[in-house]
């Protein structure tokens, strides 16, 4: 009887291991860890606080649909690097905030808080186009020192990479995400001053600074 029980236990363990192996065989994990170049251009005359929440820093997109394999895509670290690099070079001074809205340092003109709204991707076999494509949408919020909303705008980013010959699906998708993140950085950098509310805000600040300079000259 003992032999039967031991055999049954061994069989059930083997079955459990086999199930685990089969389940994990269809799960893909992608961890994107890109470094991004510092933008070249003019700085806005603002002192800006940047708050990247824990959700943003550790963002993982998980998808488990019937018509697709399971995907877990971590873009947190890469997008943290991107926003720190781009926002860090856009303004006269940028302060990284560990918390928001409490304990804000004095003298901030704006506080910028980004959020991931959406991430989508397609594989070559789904579109019959021989490329991997990625779309990322960010909701951007800008607040003043008192916590009132100054502007809200959306950044859409697109990245694609050709079917990477002899590369895994994961590596090709990570490459497409890096291209999309670079695109997000480019849109953030070039589009910031085109948001009407921010355009007016920067113009007011510039006017105040030039008046300040004029009075100090007198």
């Amino acid at each position: 009887m003992n032999i039967w029980l031991t055999g049954l236990r061994t069989m059930s363990r083997l079955f459990a291991i086999l199930t685990m192996v089969l389940l994990t065989a269809c799960a893909h994990t992608v961890s994107v860890d890109g470094q991004f170049p510092t933008p070249v251009g003019n700085q806005h005359p603002l002192i800006v606080g940047v708050f990247l929440s824990d959700d943003f820093r550790q963002f993982t997109y998980s998808e488990n649909r019937d018509d697709r394999d399971e995907w877990n895509i971590n873009t947190g670290r890469a997008q943290k690097n991107l926003f720190e690099t781009v926002l860090g070079s856009m303004f006269r001074e940028t302060i990284s905030l560990s918390q928001y809205p409490s304990d804000l340092p004095q003298g901030l003109d704006l506080v910028i808080v980004p959020e991931v709204r959406e991430l989508q991707f397609t594989m070559p076999r789904e579109t019959r186009v021989n490329i991997f494509e990625v779309w990322i949408k960010y909701d951007m919020h800008a607040y003043n020192q008192r916590g009132d909303s100054v502007a809200e705008w959306v950044i859409t980013a697109y990245g694609k990479t050709p079917t990477a010959f002899l590369k895994s699906q994961e590596a090709a998708l990570a490459q497409a995400i890096n291209v999309a993140l670079r695109d997000a950085g480019a849109t953030l950098y070039t589009g910031f001053a085109q948001v009407p509310e921010l355009q007016a805000f920067i113009a007011n600040k510039q006017r105040a600074l030039s008046m300040q300079e004029a009075t100090s000259d007198e």
Binding site: P37, V40, N42, Y158, P162, V179, A186
Partner: protein, 228 residues
């Protein structure tokens, strides 16, 4: 030693086939508005257009043209694409890059961008747009393994077509210097008698070499170009 000698024949055949390759025809056209003015200390940037969602100019083609053209001794100094795009981030990203020479002059209104371009000594920006595609394929190859051994039998063939256009912008004079187009076609064959023997037509590579040779003549002043 017998198994080795058995292997040697197919391997030699495969090596010979690879060196022979399939046939490719390349047609290069040129439209020139000014003569080459590349001087000592000047640089050339070769960039791929990647704004279309249907295709993308292959980074390896851009590298190939750049590597073939780069020859400081003959006066052609090519800045690698990625290095240049990173140094001028975000202005040459796929969706932000200037599409026309007029947009480039607008970009030069930003002092930091202008300074960076001048640091690099950029004289020409060459935009390459296009791609290489497999247009048709036919045939089939079957492989099997048995106790007696393994082998493949059959015949496969496919056609590839390259279509590229290079627009040459004179950065200093802010004008279009001309255009070069390269159309290449080739058919590859893969007969398999026990071992598949690829006869690959290097369509993209031949388009690259053709374009690089034409670009060298285009960019260098007439006397220098004829010397190399």
């Amino acid at each position: 030693m017998k198994p080795l000698s058995n292997l040697a024949a197919p391997l030699l055949l495969a090596a010979a086939a690879l060196s022979t390759g399939g046939c490719t025809t390349v047609v290069i056209d040129e439209y020139r508005r000014s003569t080459g003015e590349l001087a000592v200390g000047d640089s050339v940037v070769i960039l791929g257009r990647r704004h279309s969602s249907e295709y993308e100019t292959e980074p390896d083609l851009i590298d190939c043209v750049g590597d073939t053209l780069h020859n400081p001794e003959s006066g052609v100094n090519v800045i690698p694409e990625q290095q240049f795009v990173d140094a001028l981030y975000p202005w040459f990203e796929p969706r932000k890059a200037p599409m026309h020479i007029k947009s480039l002059s607008k970009l030069m209104d930003i002092p930091d961008v202008r300074d960076r371009m001048e640091q690099y000594g950029v004289k020409y920006i060459v935009w390459i747009d296009g791609s290489t595609e497999t247009t048709s394929s036919a045939g089939s190859i079957g492989c099997s393994i048995s106790t007696a051994g393994a082998g493949c039998f059959g015949f496969g063939t496919w056609d590839k077509e390259s279509d590229y256009e290079a627009s040459v912008w004179d950065f200093r004079d802010q004008e279009l210097s001309g255009k070069i187009s390269a159309d290449a076609q080739g058919t590859s064959y893969m007969p398999a008698i026990v071992v598949p023997i690829p006869l690959i037509a290097r369509v993209q590579n031949n388009a690259c070499k053709g374009m690089a040779a034409q670009l060298r003549e285009f960019l260098l002043p007439p006397q220098s170009a004829s010397r190399y």
